[in-house]
């Protein structure tokens, strides 16, 4: 080659000094399509690549000497605009200007680079031919285009993923960051080639976050493993956000880290929900902790999984001493028998949702406690794992109250029975004197009809009637007194009393002498003093005791009364020499309408001592009887001084 490089000299090709065959071989076999023609457009050389490019089916050797324009015309259909193609060929050959790397595109999309050079003879002026060379560009071009489209595509994809994504080089500098990571386009573009410290600096944000990220980044580099960490932030609305960040180192075939992908997932909602969940868990825990009942959970094997604080109060074992232990260790074998049965049936029997039972437990201190327990079934995290929650309520107070109530009820029932009995007795006591009165009156009438009754007979029956009426009146008085006692209408009104003169007065009124002429003897023992007592009640007591003493000792020696002043109290002792009281009946004294079986026709209501007992009781005193049949009776009534 010599002269201007922009021309091909004919001698270059046909140089006798060059190895023709070698050159031709090269031209025939290179990738480029080559055509050499004379100035008259007769083909001097054409290679197979040219034929292939322009779809010429005739073998290259056969084309030599043919008109190149005809060939061009035949191939023009390969172009979108055949006219333009042919005109350009004409233009080039007429102007004889060197053309370099002129791009042409075929209808099928292939792109070629066209080179043209005029062939000059030695004088360098006259054109003797034209040299054409076409090289296909399509493949390289396509590849370049494709990679550009590909990057755009992936950028698009990454920008539209709602996850912060960044790609860092090994120096932790941003190679890429997506729209989710940084929304602002300018900032995003600026970020490339910068690191988090630059970003922090630009936003006046402090290096806390950048330092922390650097730390994790280095961990990822060191370990070649993905590193996860959480980043908290405050968003524009002032809400706390939380991102779960990842640094994922990407390695090449030789295990070297080429770049690191960083991506963050916004887990604020998850964290928020977790917080809510924890809060609600806390609420429920709080509820269970403060429940007034023991709560526990056992697993399928009856091992405790949870106990609330009240458990410790009942079982004397803390949470840590209890959880993980089989529940049977907390009960005596006999108590656990029923519990175990219930636990098994709640676990196995799907038709039972809840089991409730009352148990009685004796504590270590020997105190009896009553509990209500109930079980309900639920399923654990593992499928088919049946768990049982148990609730134990201390019902000792309720049970005690219930028992107390039963006792009161029973007492009430006894009282009510007693009242009924009392009414029956009163009815009986009224009916008998009434019967005597009625029958006596009717007898008198009958006697008048049948015979003329004697004065004595008439007197007998009328006395009988008057006596029974008197008896009825006494009965009424005593019933009234008892009814007053029952309704607490009688006030206990203690006053200072000179007992001796008080008793003296009563005696002189009724018993000195009694209606049969007998006189009572009175004795004083001890140092007399003033005592406290209710005058009305004491008078009733003394009258009753003395009346009984006289009544049941008719025709016998007169009774005696002794007043005894002791150290702590005083007493009245009455002794009579009468019929006495049968031994087994002494305990009945003081019960309504109970009279000695030997009282016979001696009048009495059977209520006198009931009242006496009550009045003595009001004085905090006691009554004591000692009696022998047909020998007489001692009655000792002792009173405290009631200061």
């Amino acid at each position: 080659m010599k002269g201007h490089s922009s021309y091909i000299e004919k001698s270059d090709i046909n140089d006798k000094n060059t190895n023709d065959s070698t050159l031709v071989f090269i031209l025939k076999n290179i990738d480029a399509a080559v055509l050499l023609e004379t100035s008259a457009h007769k083909i001097e050389f054409i290679n197979n690549a040219y034929c292939s490019l322009f779809n010429i089916t005739i073998p290259a050797d056969h084309l030599l000497g043919m008109d190149s324009f005809e060939i061009a015309k035949a191939s023009a259909y390969l172009f979108a605009e055949p006219e333009v193609y042919l005109n350009r060929l004409n233009q080039i050959t007429e102007e004889n200007i060197t053309v370099s790397k002129e791009e042409i595109q075929l209808l099928d999309g292939r792109i070629f680079e066209r080179d043209y050079k005029p062939v000059l003879i030695e004088d360098d002026i006259n054109i003797t031919g034209h040299f054409w060379c076409y090289k296909e560009l399509s493949l390289t071009k396509k590849n370049n285009d494709l990679s550009a489209t590909g990057e755009l595509f992936y950028r698009n994809v990454l920008n539209n993923i709602p996850v912060d994504i960044a790609i860092y080089n090994k120096e932790h500098k941003y190679v890429f960051v997506n729209k989710s990571g940084i929304g602002n386009d300018i900032v995003r573009d600026w970020m490339v080639g910068k690191n988090d410290f630059d970003y922090s600096l630009s936003g006046n944000k402090g290096f806390q976050k950048a330092l922390s990220r650097r730390n994790y980044f280095e961990q990822a580099l060191d370990s070649s493993q993905i590193v996860q960490f959480e980043e908290k932030d405050i968003n524009d609305k002032g809400q706390e956000t939380c991102n779960l960040q990842h640094y994922y180192p990407c390695v090449n075939e030789v295990n070297e880290i080429e770049f690191v992908i960083g991506y963050g997932v916004n887990i604020s909602r998850i964290r928020q929900n977790e917080k809510l969940l924890i809060k609600s868990l806390e609420t429920y825990q709080n509820l269970i902790h403060n429940l007034d009942e023991v709560v526990f959970i056992v697993d399928q094997k009856n091992v405790l999984q949870y106990v609330n604080p009240l458990w410790e109060n009942v079982f004397n074992k803390s949470y840590y001493e209890s959880v993980g232990k089989p529940i049977n260790t907390f009960f005596s074998p006999e108590v656990f028998k029923s519990i175990e049965k219930d636990l098994e049936s709640i676990k196995k029997d799907n038709s039972v949702d809840k089991i409730k039972r009352e148990i009685r437990i004796e504590t270590v201190n020997g105190i009896i406690k009553h509990y209500n327990y109930y079980f309900s079934r639920f399923y654990g995290i593992l499928k088919d794992e049946v768990m049982v929650s148990g609730y134990v309520v201390d019902i000792t107070d309720q049970v005690n109250a219930r028992e107390e109530l039963l006792k009161v009820l029973q007492k009430e029932r006894i009282l009510s029975d007693m009242k009924t009995e009392f009414v029956n007795m009163v009815s009986h006591e009224l009916r008998t004197p009434l019967s005597i009165i009625q029958s006596s009156a009717e007898i008198l009438e009958l006697m008048y009809q049948l015979e003329n009754p004697s004065k004595e007979t008439m007197g007998n029956y009328s006395v009988r009637i008057v006596d029974e009426v008197k008896n009825l009146k006494n009965l009424m008085d005593e019933l009234l007194l008892i009814s007053k006692i029952e309704t607490d209408d009688l006030q206990f009104n203690p006053k200072e009393i000179d007992v001796i003169s008080f008793v003296d007065e009563i005696i002189s009124q009724h018993f000195n002498p009694w209606k049969d002429g007998r006189k009572i003897a009175m004795e004083i023992r001890g140092n007399s003093r003033l005592v406290n007592g209710d005058k009305f009640m004491l008078k009733h007591i003394i009258n009753n005791i003395l009346d009984n003493a006289f009544k049941y000792s008719m025709d016998k020696q007169a009774p005696m009364l002794r007043i005894f002043f002791g150290h702590d109290g005083w007493s009245l002792v009455c002794r009579d020499y009468g019929i006495g009281i049968p031994g087994n009946e002494i305990n009945n004294l003081g019960s309504s309408f109970k009279r000695g079986s030997n009282s016979g026709f001696i009048q009495g209501t059977g209520l006198g001592l009931v009242v006496v007992n009550y009045f003595v009781d009001k004085h905090k005193g006691t009554v004591h009887y000692q009696s022998t049949i047909d020998k007489g009776t001692f009655v000792r009534i002792s009173f405290p001084y009631l200061d």
Binding site: T432, S440, E442
Partner: protein, 124 residues
């Protein structure tokens, strides 16, 4: 002349009943309580028994039980004369096959008609 056993612990009432029955032509035996009544029944077989319910020792029901347990006595008419007016006692009496149940206070007419229902009318 029909013989009647009167068992009543209240002396005056017992005396009055006997006076009435005698005036009406009956012959009477008397007992002041259940035990005494049973003692008499061991010796005699009256034509009718008048008996109080509430008595010390063996009460009226106890006497009736004895009467019904003795073959020779179980057909003897048995009338309760009682101050107890509750129906439970009355039911108990009839269940034990008492023939009548008179509540105190009673009139002579009541007493006599109850007796006459069980006995042939005396000749007087």
């Amino acid at each position: 002349m029909s013989e009647i056993l009167v068992i009543e612990d209240e002396l005056f009432l017992r005396q009055n009943i006997i006076t009435i029955l005698q005036l009406k032509g009956y012959q009477c035996h008397e007992a002041s309580h259940g035990v005494e009544g049973i003692e008499i029944l061991k010796k005699i077989k009256p034509d009718l028994i008048l008996c109080d319910v509430m008595m010390p020792g063996i009460d009226g029901f106890g006497v009736l039980e004895y009467v019904k347990s003795v073959d020779s006595l179980k057909e003897v008419p048995f009338i309760f004369v009682t101050a107890r007016a509750d129906t439970q006692d009355k039911e108990r009496a009839y269940k034990m096959n008492a023939d009548n149940y008179i509540t105190k206070p009673f009139s002579i007419a009541e007493l006599i008609s109850a007796i006459e229902l069980c006995l042939p009318k005396p000749l007087i």
